[in-house]
Amino acid sequence: MMRAHVRDRLTESNRRALGPGEPHRNPTRARVIVHVDMDAFFAAIEERDNPALRGKPVIVGGPKGSRGVVTTANYVARGYGVGSGMSLAKAERLCPDAVHISTKGGKYTWVSLQIMEIMRRFSPEVEPYSVDEAFLDGSGCAHLFGGLYHYGAAIKRAILDELELTASVGIGPSRVVAKMASGMNKPDGLTVIEPHRVAARLGPLPVGKIPGVGPTTEQALKSLNINMIRQLVECPRDLLEMKLGKHGDDLANKLAGAEGIDRIGLEQPVDDKSKGHEHTFHRDVTSRSRLLQQLLVQCEMVSRRMRRDLFVGRRVTLKLRTHDFRTRSHQRVTRDWTDDPVELFQVARGLLDDIWREEERIPVRLVGVSVSGLIRPGEPAGVQEDLFLARLRERRALLFRAVDDLRDRYGENIVGLAAGYGSRRSSTPGITLSA
């Protein structure tokens, strides 16, 4: 199945990644974390399924002239400046000849599941990170393949042979290092950073390259005159914590990764600061009931992701973009930690009423809901749970676990809260719940 040109590219990429000398043998059997990141995933699937698209700029998101944003652009389109998250209108201006393809979520999810299956053959510990990314703990497996490089190459080859898709693979002693490594040689790259080379490889990079360090943290670090990862490594931890609070401690963990000391387990995501979902309406909306309907569906989606990744959170943020592209956001901290969609919706509804009034008839273009301040259920939260609500929560948790099982088996639209019916994408009649 594998085409010669793709095989050649893989071989060339592997040669580039390996360079002269020995394959990385991992003689000390240090922790081996592999990050697999599919290259322009949705666009690559569309190119695979329609070879005529190869070499053309491809934008996955929606048909030409439609609202919404670019989900993925292939590398040809990226050459024109098109990027994920950009509005489709802007993408069309930048690259008028691009082929626009509507997002086919079910198709990409299916291929993603195939990729995860392949990865489970390489390690018993695979953690899907998103639809097109996953971490593997290869600590006990890499030596079976003849070393780190051969391990990474074997994963890439299996994905290419079986699915005709390329992935960029990064290998390092921690999740952060592995993730940074996978981004160093895209597309179709393979980068191995051994523990003793972490400081040398990552030290000269800007701190903004660390996964989870966004513009705000980057700015805070710059105020301490910290621009490079090396400077971050050398900065006293107490100063970091003083400036960045709890996030300083998280950064310290990332630092530990950058120093090659693995304090970040596969089970502990490093940059999951929030879970959220945004939706752009096909037509601007001025009806409160329509907005609430959409908000409920989004709260269900966010809640499902939180349950899947075993998080609860307290800070709910509502984002609203009006027809004139003005964006407002508002947030509220709930009393208890929760992943319950109904509780999230109740907060989101209150936030909507704070920042938008139906009688003003300001058309809304986009709504987004996110939950931040995430912790694992059972972690010390510093808040006494409401005991009267606890039993109700337990019952609802059982209900939503059953809902998750149904959705895993029959698709996302098979069951949902009744008030959100009509906002779901599929017209397939499903089961509705009232909670």
């Binding site: 695979r48 399924d49 329609n50 070879p51 053309k56 079910g106 005709e164 088996r409 698709g411």
Partner: protein, 84 residues
């Protein structure tokens, strides 16, 4: 290049082997198309019905999207991408 939604029922000969389905040739509007290449395949669910989707090419450059309905056991030609 342009996509055309079709949605026609078709007759199709397929090989069922090792739990997989490989479409071999199909008849559409009185013409038989021999499948030369399966570009990709995926599965979707609607309710309890499972659909098996195939993106295939015949002797020409056009790309055909075929769907097998696991419930009714019928094949559909969903859409065609016409090249050129």
């Amino acid at each position: 290049m342009r996509y055309e939604d079709i949605g026609d029922r078709i007759e199709l000969i397929a090989l069922f082997r090792d739990g997989r389905i490989r479409p071999l040739k199909f008849r559409w509007r009185d013409r038989v198309y021999r499948i030369q290449r399966v570009n990709g395949e995926w599965v979707s669910d609607q309710g309890q019905t499972r659909f098996y989707h195939y993106s295939v090419m015949t002797t020409g450059p056009d790309v055909y999207e075929l769907t097998y309905n696991g419930d009714t056991r019928a094949w559909l030609l969903d859409r065609v991408c016409l090249i050129g």
